[in-house]
């Protein structure tokens, strides 16, 4: 079980520690980012003993001890447990891990102890395996293969601590190599996980561990073909959904793991029928509404964004598969629209990346739902969305896309949007350096102008003509075409010229005459 409060506690240490911690975190973050870009993003977890503090990974005694301990074990008789404990500590050391697996018969011995009649030895043996599983060397994971059928068998047992260790061990080794993963799949890891989650559903620590193991399995590159169909056919989807609501006492951790599993399922595979049939969209969206409200208000448990993030992604991707007419029944009603708007506004300064994901979900919600679009207007959410238009890096383009979705539905909506300030916002967004913003702004402008003649007049009176004229010199051909089309077909016709002063009218008429003359 992962104790976020411990992390917080550490951060409250004195200045030196804090600075070191920050530097270490930043480096780690950089490394993770690069790993993700390389499609090599994998993490392992180490379950500490209850008596251990986090971050006190002492430098353990060197390799010699491992060899000695192993030899002692081989000859140990009834005192094996006495050697197993120090062995597990020794195996925290990476080089000791490598040494150990190279010793002849070492794994055979360990497996023997794992499956022997001494329960305490079993526990210590699995702890040794767990330490080994945390190694970054793939050879170590492969060396653990002889133990896997037993680890899987034990998942249907009743001992909770033991099961937890088995789960984390399996979760750690399965992403390490194709061979390991194939073997685990063949040995039935998916039904074993399903059974385990079912049996231990009241023990949230075990549920969390099972969620982690499943998540690791779902990260493999060919998960879509090899893993996901089996998972969807099992009882795992229902179980994952049932764990989503966080337990107030235990905390967010199990829900976090299950939500990330669901995200892996929805984002890797295009087939969402199974999940939709089980009410995944409804559940995720209603949970989002209840949790997200807290985030938007600012009172959050530390780390609730770790749960909100995968929920958002599930809703976003599930929405993309949900037929428009089924949307109403699948969703938590109009509350979702409200929540998403509040969330994106609340997160823009604290977690802009998450705000961007929220805006994406809002796009998917409004794309084909007139009801959602109408709600944005009647619940006075549009002005708040307009305030987001200055923010770049994908946020303003997504928000503008949402507004475009609204405009696209009805001419009435266009008129309302213009009244609420979208038209004047566009005169600013048309000048942005981001070409996507400019293109999208032109599209929205077109929809507004075509919906009502008053809007075109308003646009001209707000000085829109000069912007469009400037855009005709833009380097992008598509952008120029759109600006020219708008000017020629919809704005520069005689009725708007009455808005210009007399001096300019005279000029304009001469211009227009000669233009027509030369165009023939």
């Amino acid at each position: 079980m992962w104790r976020l409060n411990k992390v917080r506690h550490k951060a409250g240490g004195h200045a030196n520690n804090l600075e070191e911690l920050r530097t270490k975190r930043r480096e780690k973050e950089r490394a993770l980012r690069q790993a993700r870009r390389d499609r090599q993003l994998v993490s392992k977890r180490l379950l500490l003993n209850e008596d251990e503090e986090q971050d006190t990974m002492e430098v353990t005694p060197g390799e010699q001890d491992v060899v000695t301990l192993f030899q002692n074990l081989q000859h140990g008789g009834t005192e094996k447990e006495a050697f197993l404990r120090p062995l597990s500590k020794a195996l925290r050391n990476p080089s000791a891990q490598l040494t150990f697996i190279k010793l002849e018969n070492s794994m055979h011995l360990l497996v023997g102890l794992l499956t022997g009649s001494d329960a305490r030895c079993r526990l210590q043996a699995v702890r040794c395996l767990h330490e080994l599983s945390h190694s970054t060397h793939t050879s170590v994971a492969s060396a653990c293969l002889p133990a896997t059928p037993y680890l899987l068998t034990y998942l249907s047992g009743q001992s909770t601590k033991f099961t937890e260790l088995c789960l984390y061990t399996l979760g750690n080794i399965c992403p390490d190599s194709e061979r390991v993963k194939e073997r685990l799949l063949a040995q039935g890891i998916i039904p074993a996980l399903a059974g385990c989650m079912q049996n231990h559903r009241h023990n949230l620590a075990v549920v969390e561990a099972a969620g982690f193991a499943l998540f690791q399995l779902l990260q493999s590159k060919d998960a879509v073909q090899k893993v996901i169909p089996t998972v969807l056919a099992s009882s795992l989807p229902s179980q994952l959904l049932s764990v989503l609501t966080p337990d107030p006492d235990f905390g967010l951790a199990p829900a976090i793991e299950c939500a990330w599993c669901l995200h892996s399922l929805t984002s890797s595979s295009e087939d969402h029928r199974e999940l939709l049939a089980r009410g995944a969209l409804r559940q995720c969206s209603s949970l989002l509404v209840s949790l997200g409200g807290a985030v938007a208000d600012g009172n959050t448990d530390q780390g609730v964004e770790l749960l909100v993030c995968p929920l958002l992604r599930c809703v976003g991707n599930l929405l993309s598969s949900c037929p428009a007419d089924a949307l109403h029944s699948q969703l938590a009603g109009v509350d979702l629209v409200v929540l998403l708007c509040e969330l994106v506004v609340a997160l823009i300064h604290t977690l802009p990346a998450l705000a961007r994901e929220t805006a994406w979900v809002l796009n998917n919600l409004t794309a084909h739902s007139t009801e959602s679009c109408s709600a944005l207007l009647t619940l006075n959410l549009v002005p708040r969305l307009l305030e987001l238009l200055p923010f770049s890096q994908g946020i303003n383009t997504m928000v503008l896309r949402v507004l475009a979705n609204v405009a696209h539905k009805k001419k009435e909506f266009c008129i309302q949007l213009a009244e609420l300030g979208l038209l004047s916002a566009l005169t600013a967004t048309l000048k942005m350096a981001d070409q996507d913003m400019v293109t999208l702004s032109l599209e929205v402008l077109f929809m507004l102008i075509v919906s009502s003649p008053q809007i075109a007049e308003q646009f001209v009176s707000q000085g829109g003509l000069s912007v469009l004229e400037a855009i005709q010199y833009n380097s992008d051909g598509e952008v120029r075409r759109r600006a020219t089309y708008l000017l020629e077909q919809h704005i520069l016709s005689e009725k708007y010229i009455s808005m210009l002063g007399e001096y300019e009218q005279d000029r304009f008429n001469k211009f227009w005459l000669s233009f027509r003359y030369s165009a023939t």
Binding site: W2, L4, R8, R22, R25, K28, E29, L32, R36, R37, L41, S43, S267, S268, L306, C309, P310, R313, L319, A324, D325, I348, H349, P352, E357, W360, N364, T366, H368, T370, F391, G394, N396, T397, H408, K410, A428, K431, A433, D434, D436, M437, L440, F446, S466, E469, A470, I471, Q472, Y473, N474, S475, E478, R482, T484, Q489, E504, R507, F511, S514
Partner: protein
């Protein structure tokens, strides 16, 4: 940019979904647009994001920070959102601004009152008018031989003079203008066409340089090849001696690809003749054409 449709990971499902019965009032897809040649193509799109999508990067990184016990929920660690910049549209002008005011000021100062013929930028509509008349209007040149045509630059004064020098003296004496007032440059006297092109090139270049320095024209305008200026000025002399010259030919030759890579001339649709300066405050920019339309 993340959401370009050609990204492999991004799948959009648009159009195939049934609309909610408001088809009469909404916008149809581009294919069904009533007007031909309508370039607008927006349709609401469902965006499905694959797990490896760029948009998910930050969230995934936080997830793994959490798995590795490095997660901190404190806001201090998160980066602030970035604000969009504004960018000048004029192709070749790469100016970028952090506020709308800066953008407006840039545009109004450098691109708004631009003479179509010689690309010089003037600070106001009135001075642009006067410039065009005096530099590019052949009718003006003819009339100026017989009457006072050079208008005082000070608005409201209204006095006219036979030569630009006289006007300049007037500006200095009466209105206390500095002798080197930047917006009252003389148009260099043109020799006959037989005069060496190099000379004219030089003077044209000089004029351009002066413009660059004194009139604060942006880089794009300064980079106009001397060829082009020369050709345009020779177009002037042509216009006064010939009737309705076919300018299209000249324009075409002036716009051979080799001469100018940083071309200011936009590529118009076929319906817009090249000689019409459609932008830069089109209503006013048109002024430069008046004298040619004979």
């Amino acid at each position: 940019m993340m959401l370009q449709p050609d990204l492999v990971q991004l799948m959009a499902m648009g159009g195939s979904q049934t609309h909610n019965g408001d088809e009469e009032e909404g916008f149809r897809g581009a294919a069904e647009q009533q007007e031909e040649g309508n370039p607008f193509t927006f349709n609401p799109q469902l965006l499905r994001l694959h797990r490896d999508h760029e948009l998910f990067e930050d969230g995934d990184v936080f997830r793994h920070m959490y798995l590795q016990d490095l997660f901190i929920s404190e806001a201090e660690e998160q980066p602030a959102p970035s604000i969009s910049e504004f960018g000048c549209h004029i192709s070749g002008c790469r100016a970028v601004f952090s506020s709308l005011d800066e953008y407006e000021h840039h545009y109004n100062s450098l691109h708004r009152h631009v003479c179509c013929s010689c690309r010089r930028s003037l600070p106001s509509a009135r001075l642009l008018d006067i410039h065009i008349q005096e530099w590019h209007d052949s009718l003006f040149t003819i009339l100026a031989q017989k009457q006072d045509m050079y208008l005082c630059l000070v608005e409201g004064c209204g006095q006219k003079f036979r030569t630009s020098q006289q006007r300049k003296d007037h500006l200095i004496r009466l209105h206390k203008y500095p002798p080197d007032y930047r917006f009252d440059k003389n148009r260099k006297e043109k020799g006959t066409r037989e005069a060496s092109r190099e000379q004219r090139t030089d003077s044209a270049m000089e004029a351009a340089d002066d413009v660059c320095r004194s009139e604060g024209v942006c880089e794009v305008i300064c980079s106009v090849e001397s060829n082009q200026l020369e050709q345009e000025e020779s177009m002037e002399t042509h216009a006064s001696s010939e009737e309705a010259a076919p300018f299209e030919d000249f324009s075409a030759s002036a716009q051979t690809p080799e001469t100018n890579t940083e071309r200011l001339k936009p590529k118009y649709s076929y319906r817009v003749p090249k000689t019409v300066c459609f932008g830069h405050g089109s209503v006013r920019g048109f002024r430069g054409q008046r004298g040619r339309r004979k």
